[in-house]
Structure formats: structure tokens, C-alpha cells
Amino acid sequence: MPTGDTFFDGFLDDYFAESEEHLTAAADALMRLDKSIGNASAERAAVDDLFRYFHTLKAISAMVELRPAEQLAHHLEHYLRAVREGECTLTTAGSDALIEGTRRLEHIINAHRAGSPLPSIEDVLARVENLVGTRGERPTKTSAPEDATETGRRWTCRFVPTRELLAGGIGVDLVRKRLGEIGTIVEAAPHVLPDATISFQFTLITADGVDVVERLSGIPVAVEAETPSGVEPEAAAVEPAATAGAPNAAISHVVRVDLARLDHLMQIVGDMVISRARLADSLSRVERHVPASEWRAVQENALASDRQLRMLREGIMRVRMVPVGEIFRRMPLVVRDLARENGKRVKLELRGQATEIDKYLIERMMDPVLHLVRNAVSHGIEPPDVRIAHGKTPEGTITLSAAAVGDMVTLEVADDGYGVNEEAVVNKARQAGLIVPPGPLDAAAVLGLLCSPGFSTKEETDRASGRGVGMAVVKAMVEGLSGTMALDTEPGHGTRFIIRLPVTLAITDALIGRVGEEAFAIPQGSVREVIEIAEADVRQLEENEIVPYRDGALPLVRLSRLFGIASTARTGRLHVFVLGHGSASMGIAVDRIVGQREIVVRTLADALVRVDGVSGATDLGDGRVVLILDPAVLARLTNQRARRVIPDAAAWGRLPA
């Protein structure tokens, strides 16, 4: 029998997952609290929610014996209880301490997860301790608790649970949730009917003209409207905790699945994709031995199973998808705090929070986005006086947006501040001993400098947070996820960092190209265009090749040269994948383009096998391994060699053929 000391260690993953939910919800409640100054009922609701989050964090931290987290959560809960019971007033210092406490709690839990030393909590404990018993300067309206909702129409709704209903998913929780969407639940309590059955009675207040029966759409709830005159002062609501409408309960209809299990499913689907491709290969070889009439049936079945397999793959992928808003939700607090610290005024706008992205990516993008947002507040936005002097509004705006385009997701962090000063970046880079390309730099080159390891060492130790990552790390993380990063900046008007990521990893559509005997796959999401050009159009520019493309030129990489494979193209024409955007675009030349396939990405973990420019390998079904190209690294390889001067259209004609 396991002892109490180690028994609950097996639940650490559950602990981390649940803590994260509560911390995110707490950050949300803190923002609501901040906005609720002067609104007693909103403040009360936020305090109640916070109280419950800290209470649960205390309990679960105690269970996994993470004492500092338990202790800190306990103190925060204690302070909130004092506020709730009117022993002290919630002051600005109080809400600041709650924010600091929440953040420290998060650090403790993250440090525990990472196995690093836990941050100290003494200072926060002292801060919170001092607050209990203070009555302060926070402007609270002491007028009668104004409940705007009390003026609507009042309903009594009764629900009798049965085993059959519950088996069909209709239970008190669903009823409460649905009623909460229709109006405001002012009371929810169980009753025992004379025949000993149990019913739940909800008192609901809705806006005038709302038809509760209709809105319940089939959920068996007995609804009774009270006549306006019947709005009696309800026999004092049982106990505050018994009233409903808590947002927290929304979690209960969600199934929690260990990510590893989904990974396993995904892997099986991956194997099926390969088996399916092998089957197609075998089928094509037996085709001539099968009578045409039979063959048709075989092919129809094969196509159907193809479609179903794709649907299965998409279904599993959808399960892994979570709204990107999860990354965004903690940002308002970070921005508000950092802005206050830096004496700046910043408004945060969030867009596209519902955009969905693989859970795996969410977890890995949290820190990079956080870093970009922090940078935007500390270095992007000007102090109010500077902004006014430049004819801008004193309040800067940071826009955090997400959008999905095909198989790619774009995350953008934009500010309307200084913009990146190229000269300052170049000077700083030179001071740091970095090699700066000559001539005027384009945005990609500036970004390259910003993201060079060693460009900024100050940022690493920035803030006591301990989770600061430098721009170099941000870029490495994005590229590690087969993503790309771009910079768009205009001095005096602002800066925009654009991160493009594949929606999901593991299985993706790819274009297959051939060079000599070798086949290469390139993720379709990163291919902008496929073009064909005559060998004669290729120009030599120093040691690089370029080809005309649209109004400019495109640096060309021949895979045959890059990987030292004998090309077998004889036609004098090159097939080129165009990758990347703007000045970061490049062309990848292959002998011929075979087609489009669904591929299963297997990363090459063996360092001996790993080659720059190749992100993994796949199996197309004919038993041969195909290398998957890594567009981000290829772009860097070309940049290193080709980022000299790319001529504009006018200069094109003067180049040696």
C-alpha cells in the first residue's frame, strides 16, 4: 500500500492542469475586479470567485505538498475573506497585492513543474498580512447594492431530475447553465416534494419580453411567470453561497484528456495514412490484373476509405484544438502591470481569440507571445508626454490578434509606438560584436539582428519574473514549431511582429518534388506559389543565383546543389517552389514536382542524421523515406549566403546572364 508521502505524486499532472485553470480564471477575475471600482455587486462577484480559486489552489497544493503555494494561497484567501466579511476594504494596494500574489503563485507552481528552486514568498506574505485590517482609499460606493437585474421579469422554474434524463445528459447543471444564459439566477435551491421526490427550484430574472419556455427548447423545466405585482421581497436568500450563476461550473461538461493519449491516437492515424499510401501503391501494381468492372469497385472503396481517413484525422486534430484566447487571457494583467511600472498608458486590444490552434502549440507559444507583449510595453510604446509631443494620443495601443488561414495560424503583436530604430539596432549589434550586413537593411535583416543570440543580454534578466526569454529564444521556439517570424515596422508609427505557425504538427499536406532519384516533401502551408522558369533566366550574382519573380528577383536554391545530388532535369526548365513573404522569399528548385500528398511528419531526433534544412522524414507508402524540408532553416541558409544586394527590377537587365 502506498504511503501518504508519495501516494499523490502520481497526480502532479492533474494538479498542474487544474492550477493553470484556476490561475487563468483568477487573472480574469482580477481584471474584472480592477474594472469594478464603484460597482458593489460586480466587485462582490469578482471577490467571491477569487476566494474560491485561491481556496481550491490551497487545497490541491496541500495535497501535493507544495507548501509555499499552499501557504500563499491561504494568505490570499484569508485576505479575501476579510474583505468579504467587511473587516477591511479592498484598496488599490490590496488589488495590487492580489495580483502580485497570483503571479508569485504561478511562479511557484511553474518552478515546481520545472524542478527549479522555488521563489521566496516572504515579501508577498508580509504585504498581504499588512492589508488585513486596513481600511483604505479605494473609492467604493456604499449606496444600496444596485442590482439592475432586479427590475426585469421574475420566473420560478422547477426541474425534477431523473435517471433517464441524466443518462441523456440533462441534469441540474445543464438546467442551471441554460437558465443562466437566459437571465440572472437569483436563487437556486433543492426542494423535497410531498411524494419525496427531489426538485430544484430556480428563481430567474429576465429582461421583459423573454420567453423562458421557448428558450429552454425542450429541456423539461416547469416554468411559472410571476405577475409583476407578485414581486415580493423574497424571503431573505438562503445563504449567499447557495445562490447560483458561478462561471466556474462551466468546466464540468468538459472531458479532460491526457495529451499523451491524443498523441497516441494521432500516431495511429499517422500509421494508417502510411498504410493507406502503401495500399494505394500495391493497388496500382495489381490494377492490370483485375478486370475493369472489379477494379472500379476497388477504387471506389479505396477513395471512400481515403475520405474517411482524412475525416478521422481532422476529427482528432479538432479535439486537440483550443482557442488561442487561452494565450491572450493573461495578457491584460501583464500589460496593465508593466504599463503602471513604466509610467505608460496602454490599451490592449484582443482580436480573433476564438481562432483555434493545437494545444501543443498553445503551451509553447505562451512565453514567446508574453515576451513580445512585454517588449511592446517596455520598448514599443512611448511615455504619454512623448506621445503627446508627437501628436499621438497619450494612451498607446497594443493589438494582439490571431487568425487562421488554411493550415496556418497567424499571431500578431502590434503596437503604435516608436517603431524599430534601424540605426540604434545596427549600433547595438556592432557593440555586441555581431556581423552587420552592409547597406540599408530590410525588415527581415533588422529582425535577424534583433533575434541574434547575444544581441540583448539585458532582457534575459529583465524583471524578477524569471521567465523572460530573449528574442533569440522566441525566434528559435517559433522555428522549432515549423513557424516563421516577420517584422513590420515604421519609425514613429509602430511595430508589428508576425508569427506564422502550422495549425497542427504531425500530419500535414505537402508538395512532393524530385531531384535525381530523391524525393523531398515540403509543407504545403509554407509554399506560396509554384512556378516554372527557363534555365536561361537564372542570373549569377556573386556566388548566388537569382531568378526574375514578379517585380523583383528571387534568390534561388537548387536542392541538387544544396544536398549534392546529381540532377536529372534535361528540359532546360526549372520547377521552383516559392517560399516566404516579401524580402524573405526564396525559391527552391527541383527537377520535377510529383504532386500533393498527405504526409506524416517524423522528426529526426538522431543528431548524426540531422541535416540543416531538413526537419524530418516521412514514408510515402512505396517504402522509401522522403525527407521533409524545413522552410525556415532553408531561408536562413539562403540568407547567410545570399543576403547581399538583391537588385530591383530596373537593375535586372544589367546583370550578367
Binding site: A59, A62, M63, P161, R176, I198, A241
Partner: protein
């Protein structure tokens, strides 16, 4: 078969409670994450024992206790209140409201399992055999 209802708003705690009671023979577990859900489960399933958290959204554990004890059907149903420690006034409140046993979190799995076993045993003894 002993039907045990585990009521806690934290899924992690529910899982821990369940794991702690794995050694109880022929036990079947039902879970609820709010007080209202707990009462719903009481209404539709033959629950033999409740492990009840106090601080929950929707309906406080104390209200669940009071409701259950007011109802003749459930007057003798064993209820273990399992709540976060350091709140000594609530122990008395819980006892007064009808808690059979009062345990605090963090709990040792053996302690909880033993408390459940004791209550199930005494419930069996108290039930006159037909």
C-alpha cells in the same frame, strides 16, 4: 456494491479521493462537482456514503448537509466532510449540520479509506437483516 458519492469542485481532488478508496471492496463511485449536482445524484442513485467538500460554487456543502438531514430518507446516510484545514469554526458548523465524520485536506489516503470502511461497516451492522 457500495455506491460512494464524491462531491468536490476540484477534479484533481475527486480523482485523489477515488484513488484513495480503491482498496474498498466492491465500491462504485459517482462524482458531483457542485452541491446541486450532489443532490441530483442522491435523487437518482442509491448512494450509500458521501464524501463532501464544503466550499463549492452553487450550493455550499453545509447547505447540502442541512438539506440531506432535513429529509427523512437520508437522515442516517453517512457523510464524511472533507474540507481544507485551518478553518476550525467550520468543524463545529459541519458537525451541527449533520456531518458524520470530519476530515481535513490534505488527507492521508489510509485515513480516508479507514473512515469510509468504518462507516460502511457500522451501516451494515445497523441495518437489520431481512
Amino acid at each position: 456494491m457500495h455506491k460512494i458519492l464524491i462531491v468536490d469542485d476540484s477534479p484533481t481532488i475527486r480523482k485523489m479521493v477515488r484513488a484513495s478508496l480503491q482498496t474498498i471492496e466492491s465500491a462504485e463511485f459517482i462524482e458531483a462537482s457542485t452541491g446541486l449536482e450532489a443532490i441530483e445524484q442522491l435523487a437518482v442513485a442509491r448512494v450509500q456514503l458521501i464524501v463532501l467538500d464544503l466550499n463549492m460554487p452553487d450550493m455550499h456543502g453545509i447547505d447540502v448537509l442541512r438539506f440531506v438531514r432535513r429529509n427523512a430518507h437520508y437522515r442516517s446516510l453517512p457523510i464524511i466532510v472533507l474540507t481544507t484545514r485551518g478553518d476550525e469554526t467550520s468543524r463545529q458548523t459541519a458537525k451541527n449540520a449533520g456531518a458524520t465524520t470530519y476530515l481535513t485536506k490534505p488527507f492521508a489516503p489510509q485515513t480516508l479509506a479507514q473512515a469510509v470502511r468504518d462507516l460502511l461497516d457500522s451501516a451494515v451492522e445497523a441495518t437489520p437483516r431481512a
